[in-house]
Symmetry: D2
Subunit: 106 residues, 4 copies
Amino acid sequence: MTDKTFDELQQRLTDFAAARGWEPFHTPKNLAAALSVEAGELLEIFQWLTPEQAATVMADPDRAHRVRDEVADVLAYLLQFCTAVGVDPAAALAAKIERNEIRFPI
Amino acid sequence: MTDKTFDELQQRLTDFAAARGWEPFHTPKNLAAALSVEAGELLEIFQWLTPEQAATVMADPDRAHRVRDEVADVLAYLLQFCTAVGVDPAAALAAKIERNEIRFPI
Amino acid sequence: MTDKTFDELQQRLTDFAAARGWEPFHTPKNLAAALSVEAGELLEIFQWLTPEQAATVMADPDRAHRVRDEVADVLAYLLQFCTAVGVDPAAALAAKIERNEIRFPI
Amino acid sequence: MTDKTFDELQQRLTDFAAARGWEPFHTPKNLAAALSVEAGELLEIFQWLTPEQAATVMADPDRAHRVRDEVADVLAYLLQFCTAVGVDPAAALAAKIERNEIRFPI
């Protein structure tokens, strides 16, 4: 199993962009905008679906492909944003879960 | 180092929601909406900044905290969405990078 | 000049949807999602542009058409949302401007 | 009845921003980002609601106020964006409805 960790995927995305000279576009502001745009494209798949239809979205091969494709885009821009600002996404989430465990006690 | 992989974080988020009875809210459609909302909150930090100001956003401790907090929220909803629809986010991204290597040759 | 007021445009959109049997999809939640998705599509036009390039976006006929098209989509879903929840958009904005005149004194 | 037309509201927003020296921030790119952020805040009200709860959102005075407030913000940034790029929002929507009448015949 390869490329399953945040660090590996971030490195691959950095190499991909560098090989194509795309770094000048990958500013924090542009990447935050692109992340928001891609999250909108993921939501678009669901916008007219009833909750019942949305629950079985992966049963349709075309929609399932589109969902995986948009998940990949959202994750890509999130990781590239994190690289651009020097944030460790997994550490940020672990810290947030710890804060939420105090904020929302069981 | 703990909680650094997608699987571990997804499991922690699942346990967190289950312990609070939040699963009924965590439908694919709701999570896609929440992901988009949080991506908007991350973008909000940058909306009035010049590219130069945006490039040094982490030099301000308050903004840096807010950036890490919103990154955590985006990642949390992305991982919870993936759990809800049964998508492996790291595999989806690795597959997308491979398609893009063909689509955008060096 | 026709169709220049909010009321006229809202009525035309209502008639358009009714004639096609689309009302069941036009719930407040779905329309709020669609509005957000279309706002993302408008932002997409600008995501990789420098501020200078963005300032002259209308000089390119294709981009100019796309901008007008996305403005129309955002406005359409905003007006349909307002119809669905019974909000008068112009009155809501006038009231907000009055609150902001107090909140941000000159 | 005052401020009920697009032109009047656009002029009021322009005057409001000019009186506070906010024009330098109101670039097309920034306004497109702000519009998307505010559309997300409107969606946030609905993100965990069932379709049934969403249908009665205006029965709750606090939520109703929040809905009107976010509608105002979305409309404000849409109109300011249109001013910045020189697009007539009502004409853009009228033209789109005409195209859609051909694209989606009854």
